[in-house]
């Protein structure tokens, strides 16, 4: 069966949703990654904002970025979320933090915000519902958005 990459593929052919998980705390990242994989997601892992941007500049297609806020390096989670919104507008963004109080503007830009600690299974379930809301997640080609100006 030929692969159909454009949106509008038959539902039966829907690929697994995919997430780039950006979290510098190793064991938290592993727990979350396991929960996503158990739920059938394709999971990519990055340990910093810089790694995440390096990854997102590749041709690997990902439908959702889930990022922690406080991370070492020059690119924290809010900066990364802003970058994704500008440079990869087709990719959904979810942010999680145990301490950060997002502004109203940030909340309006992000697709979801989670307060940590969050039970991994619960978080995955909510994000499952988010991507299932349109059923389009897996068909997106977020890197195509790289050449488009942010809205």
């Amino acid at each position: 069966m030929p692969k159909i990459s454009a949106a509008g593929s038959p539902a039966a052919d829907r690929l697994a949703p995919s997430v780039l998980l950006v979290e510098d705390e190793f064991l938290i990242r592993l727990d979350l990654a396991d929960a996503f994989r158990r739920a059938g997601w394709t999971v990519y892992e990055a340990a910093s904002g810089e790694e995440a941007i390096h990854f997102l500049r590749s041709t690997i297609v990902v439908g959702l970025v889930l990022t922690d806020v406080r991370m070492p390096g020059a690119v924290d989670g809010t900066t990364l979320a802003g970058w994704v919104r500008r440079e990869r507008p087709a990719v959904r963004v979810a942010v999680m933090s145990g301490h950060y109080e997002p502004s109203v503007e940030e909340l309006s830009l992000w697709d979801a915000f989670f307060t940590k600690p969050a039970a991994p299974e619960l978080l995955v379930k909510q994000l499952d519902e988010l991507v299932d809301g349109t059923g389009q997640d897996a068909q997106r080609s977020p890197n195509d958005g790289g050449t488009q100006p942010a809205a």
Binding site: F55, R57, S58
Partner: protein, 132 residues
């Protein structure tokens, strides 16, 4: 066909390059291994010390970000966990080749594609990552 009566072996992939790490880890998962990804030796040590992780094999780059390189990590493992097999690699071609060997040795599935394809894939992705 008899169901496998053992847990899949666990491979710890340690590589500071997100694209290499991701592609190699995915390749090994397709072979049937359970794969844990670590960015540096500090994360690798956490995985090795974590109860229940039961790492069987470490596939690590020599050049790792942080205070400990791959040789130092291997030395630590040999001293503290002599049962864990360590494979060190210093180039993406070697890493892919080692992953291919692991897939052939593995008790689960055949290797999904040739290691040369893995290298090409990583290089293409890196090429893509250079655009800005």
């Amino acid at each position: 066909m008899e169901a496998p009566n053992q847990q899949p072996e666990t491979i710890l992939v340690v590589d500071g390059d997100v694209i290499t790490r991701t592609v190699i880890a995915d390749y090994l998962r397709q072979c049937g291994y359970r794969v844990i990804e670590a960015v540096n030796a500090w994360e690798a040590e956490q995985a090795l010390n974590q109860e229940g992780f039961d790492v069987d094999i470490i596939l690590s780059d020599v050049d790792l970000p942080g205070e400990m390189n791959g040789f130092q990590l291997a030395s630590w493992v040999r001293q503290n966990m002599p049962d864990v097999k360590v494979i060190l690699s210093s180039a993406v071609e070697r890493t892919a080749s080692a992953a291919g060997d692991l897939c052939e040795e593995g008790p689960h599935l055949a290797k999904p594609y040739d290691p040369a394809t893995v290298v090409d894939h990583i290089k293409r992705l890196r090429g893509g990552s250079d655009r800005s």
